[in-house]
């Protein structure tokens, strides 16, 4: 295999890591609070706001139901507004992030569901404010579940990022399609797939290790 090809593979790997890393971080930063909000605004919960909850739920579901490849082209004007361009790696990060936020939110909400209502009650009996309950009880108690959710999100983002080629985003998936498929180079295809597999395994192992450290159940 030529040096130029190896260089391409190397660059594509970095592109994938960059897209997944940045969109994962931003999605976590926005998705975790959204998930918490979805949970605490439910009827009967510590900040019960049924109407807000309903609205957030609908928006989240819409975000979850649009196929990624469609979302990517549908929000091009928004992408251009944010990064100033509708093509390239940065342009791919915007739809990746938008797709991941509701995904993270639902997983976080699910992790919070696992917390016994008794814990919230105990905190209330100690005079905890809703904010204190979120920060001192809900998030620490759901930490393991939240990390599991973020791990799933990263793995999903790796797979979504393969579609980034559609907006010229580069990355391993794009390389595999262009060189491996369009130019019939099975070696490139194989290498990109192997790198993707190793990447997923790596993130999963890292996530599992963090969950083990966080969980004392």
């Amino acid at each position: 295999m030529s040096n130029a090809m190896l260089e391409l593979i190397f660059k594509a790997t970095l592109d994938t890591l960059y897209m997944v890393g940045l969109s994962g971080l931003v999605a976590a930063a926005l998705g975790v609070p959204l998930g918490v909000l979805l949970y605490v605004t439910r009827p009967g919960q510590i900040l019960a706001r049924p109407v807000t909850n309903r609205a957030l739920g609908i928006v989240t579901n819409i975000g979850r139901s649009i196929p990624f490849i469609i979302l990517m082209v549908a929000i091009i004007p928004f992408t251009r507004l944010i990064v100033g361009s509708s093509i390239g790696t940065n342009a791919a990060i915007v739809p990746l992030t938008i797709a991941a936020i509701p995904f993270v939110a639902r997983l976080v909400e699910g992790a919070l569901n696992e917390i016994s209502p008794g814990l919230i009650e105990a905190a209330q009996s100690m005079g905890a404010t809703p904010y204190q309950i979120i920060v001192k009880v809900l998030i620490p108690e759901a930490r393991g579940g939240i990390i599991t959710g973020l791990t799933i999100t990263v793995v999903t983002l790796i797979s979504y990022s393969a579609m980034a080629g559609a907006v010229g985003g580069g990355g391993l998936g794009d390389l595999g399609i262009r060189y491996g498929y369009n130019r019939f180079d099975p070696m490139v295809m194989l290498i990109t797939v192997v790198i993707l597999v190793v990447m997923v395994q790596g993130f999963q192992s890292l996530g599992d290790a963090l969950v083990r450290k966080a969980d004392h159940k």
Binding site: S116, A122, M126, G127
Partner: protein
């Protein structure tokens, strides 16, 4: 210390309304251990949760330490709750925190500085027998140890009142008694007022001063524990007591028993001795002075705090007028006599 005035709780409205708690008055004086006993669904959980407003009453007023909690703003209520500790059936410890950090939690919520937290938590761990468990996580502890952590946590904010919501119901009998000893100890050492709810007579018997009986969302009976165990006033109270004492006539006798006296029948009675009558040689007096025979079917003696309670199931055998005289004699001597039925004399 705790006063409930006309407190009620209704879920839903109109025809579907469920009256979990009917208008109820309750007063627990400073330093008392007050128990509320009832079957599941009787409303005892609603009652105790109304005290710290985990459940907001539909009507009525709640006072703790002279302060009306039902009149407070949410912020002021959170402040007031620092003076009311609570422990639960399932402990409700944070699995993500060590024993130390669990006990420190209420202090963190109050904004106590870190150094002071350390100084205040250690004595609580010593008091509750957890000195060496400092850095353990709840998952590494037994049920009894978890409840000790919960007690230490409830005491951290130096409350005046401790609410115990079925605190020993998930524990085995031995652990239960060690937790009850701890609560008694705390009540004595710290002068803490304790309100507890339970479905176990054993709990009431071993630590309560006074007890209320709740059924269908109503406090149907309230008495000092000694009185409740010797002479419950209501049918339900007697049922609880009998189930606890396990003193019922043998099944074979129940099958032969009839409600009304007839010719050649004699009564089966349950006698409860308390106070002075415990030490009286009653049976021999019945035999000698009233001239009847007494056949003892079952008997036991229980000590309830400083009182002694004797119980006996017996057949009183003799001519009807003499049996009646014997019954009068027993009642004159402050025994509680309950005629359970009448059985045909064996041929």
């Amino acid at each position: 210390m705790i006063t409930l005035e006309n407190v009620s709780k209704t879920y839903g409205s109109g025809a579907q309304a469920i009256h979990a708690l009917k208008p109820t008055d309750l007063h627990v004086p400073q330093g008392a251990i007050h128990g509320v006993i009832g079957l599941s669904g009787a409303g005892k959980s609603t009652l105790i949760r109304c005290v710290n407003l985990l459940e907001r009453p539909s009507s009525g007023r709640v006072f703790v330490d002279g302060q009306e909690l039902t009149a407070l703003s949410p912020q002021a209520l959170n402040q007031a709750r620092h003076r009311v500790g609570m422990i639960f059936q399932h402990f409700n410890l944070l699995s993500s925190r060590t024993v130390f950090a669990n006990v420190a939690l209420p202090l963190e919520l109050m904004g106590v500085p870190r150094r002071e937290i350390r100084e205040r938590v250690q004595p609580l761990l010593d008091l509750t027998g957890l000195t060496d468990k400092h850095d353990k996580y709840p998952a590494e502890l037994s049920g009894g140890q978890k409840q000790r952590v919960a007690i230490a946590r409830a005491l951290a904010s130096r409350p005046k009142v401790l609410l115990c919501d079925e605190a020993t119901s998930a524990l085995d009998p031995q652990t239960t008694s060690s937790i009850l000893e701890l609560l008694k100890d705390i009540n004595r050492k710290l002068g803490l007022t304790i309100l507890l709810i339970t479905h176990e007579m054993e709990v009431v018997k071993s630590i309560c001063h006074r007890v209320g009986l709740i059924a269908g969302g109503e406090l149907v009976e309230e008495a000092d524990v000694g009185d409740f165990f010797t002479a419950p006033e209501t049918r339900l109270g007697r049922d609880f007591l009998n189930a606890f004492l396990e003193l019922d006539p043998p099944q074979a006798l129940i099958d032969r028993m009839q409600a009304k006296p007839a010719e050649h029948t004699h009564p089966v009675v349950r006698l409860a001795f308390t106070g002075d009558s415990v030490s009286m040689p009653l049976i021999s007096r019945l035999t000698r002075d009233c001239g009847i025979d007494v056949s003892i079917l079952e008997a036991k003696v229980e000590s309830i705090q400083d009182r002694t309670l004797g119980l006996m199931i017996a057949e009183l055998i003799g001519p009807p007028e003499r049996v009646q005289a014997a019954l009068d004699y027993l009642e004159d001597h402050d025994l509680k006599v309950e005629v359970l039925g009448h059985v045909q004399r064996d041929a």
